[in-house]
């Protein structure tokens, strides 16, 4: 079974053109070129400080490139209406960032609400999304502090999907979860992705997660893109960084670790 990848409209959904990002004279990202295709899950893999999160934030213009340009659906982010841009891109972060003073329903329905959807349409969408991410309906009236870490991140994903964005940015969404919950959410992510076919940019430092979820893995090191490989290629790669990564995660696994 393959993810839904419509052949039409074949241009990249997100494109980095010679992007660099500097903070007080230091290159956080430099000479970055990458095209992300419709419906794929592109995993940005790399160690802490390699520039993964920076790369992600350049897509929804939480950051602006120092030079070069990031194009979303062929429009440079700096030339698009930033609010519109962000509302069309789902954003999920490790710390989830649910609004603690809103119920779960209200958290999920926030973007539709500020987009001016009708009440009943919002309610229907929230119900649909809660089912989609595996949250019991009675969770809707609870507050974030009453939920477990795994449940919170399910809400985070539901909230990001609320206005049906084409692109989903996920910054180590499962990084703070225990191994069992992480495994469960990864599995559900795969089945969700099979159904929804979003264009996903996913940040992680966990090779297993990358191999399991990715259509392609973009390996980063010190603000540079080292290689872009499919998971199978990655595991067999002779690239020194890639093989160092594979070694660091130990033996005993092969491309068959990958599902789907």
């Amino acid at each position: 079974m393959l993810a839904v990848m419509p052949a039409s409209d074949s241009g990249p959904v997100v494109e980095f053109r010679d992007v660099s990002y500097r903070v007080s004279g230091t290159d956080v990202l430099s000479g970055f070129n990458l095209q992300i295709q419709r419906g794929e899950t592109l995993v940005l893999l790399g160690r802490s400080g390699s520039g993964k999160t920076t790369t992600l934030k350049l897509v929804n213009r939480l950051l602006v490139p120092s030079s070069g340009e990031v194009r979303v659906k062929d429009v440079p982010t700096t030339q698009s209406d930033v609010i519109r841009l962000r509302r069309n891109i789902g954003y999920v972060i490790q710390d989830v960032g649910l609004f603690p003073h809103f119920t779960i329903e209200r958290n999920i329905g926030l973007v539709p609400r500020i987009e001016g959807w009708r009440q009943d349409r919002i309610r229907a969408r929230v119900t649909e999304l809660m089912q989609l991410v595996g949250l019991a309906p009675e969770m809707g009236s609870r507050y974030p502090h009453q939920l477990s870490g795994g449940q919170k991140q399910r809400v985070g994903v539901a909230r990001a999907l609320a206005a049906n964005p084409e692109i989903l940015l996920m910054d180590e969404p499962f990084g703070a979860l225990d191994p069992l919950t992480r495994d469960e959410l990864q599995r559900e992510f795969l089945s969700l992705q099979k159904r929804l076919g979003k264009t996903v940019v996913f940040v992680t430092h966990d090779l297993r997660e990358a191999v399991r979820l990715a259509t392609r893995i973009a390996l980063m090191e010190a603000g540079k893109l080292v290689a872009v490989l499919s998971p199978e290629e990655f595991l067999r790669s002779n690239d020194p960084w890639a093989s160092a990564y594979v070694r660091a995660f130990g033996d005993g696994w092969s491309p068959s670790t990958r599902e789907a």
Partner: protein, 210 residues
Amino acid sequence: MHFFQFMVQNQSQVLDLTLEHLWLVGISTALAAVVGMPLGIAIARHEGFSKSVLGGANIIQTVPSLALFGFLLPVPWLGTNADRLAILALTLYALLPIIRNTYTGIRGVDPAVVEAGRGMGLTNSQLLFQVQLPLALSVILSGVRTAVVIAVGLATIAAAIGAGGLGEFIFRGLAMVDNSVILAGAIPAAILALVADFVVGWLERRLRPH
């Protein structure tokens, strides 16, 4: 029990002065909130100004109250009306806790929540009114509470420039060397401070986010 006698004999005046006191405190705290909260919000957004604004409010706070009343006395429009003058001085004193708590309250909102909100495409004002202010509200109110309690105490000094309030009894008692008259001003003022503290504290707890 000279004190109680005095209170009973002068009950209508005690009531009048208490109301006057409340009025001075209420108006000045409200003014301070109207000025202080936007200032606190502004410096939370533009970090660069925070030092100078908070520093300025801090300096006002260190001016002895009697001296501040004295300084303001020769100012043309102000000096002619004791109420105006007292309200201005009390407002200035109430500013610091309100500005500071608004600033810390907004800054104290979980950065992940703010980042998620921004990433979802909330505009600055949506972020402010739907996320930051509601989450900072109990901290802001605790600033208001401090401001009210300070103002209740300071307003007693307003009587020195003829603005009335419970300070009248205190100054009269001091002049007469009569403790029960002093207490007739001091005790209602203390009760006022406690009640105000309790009421705003209750509000603060009610509005605390989950």
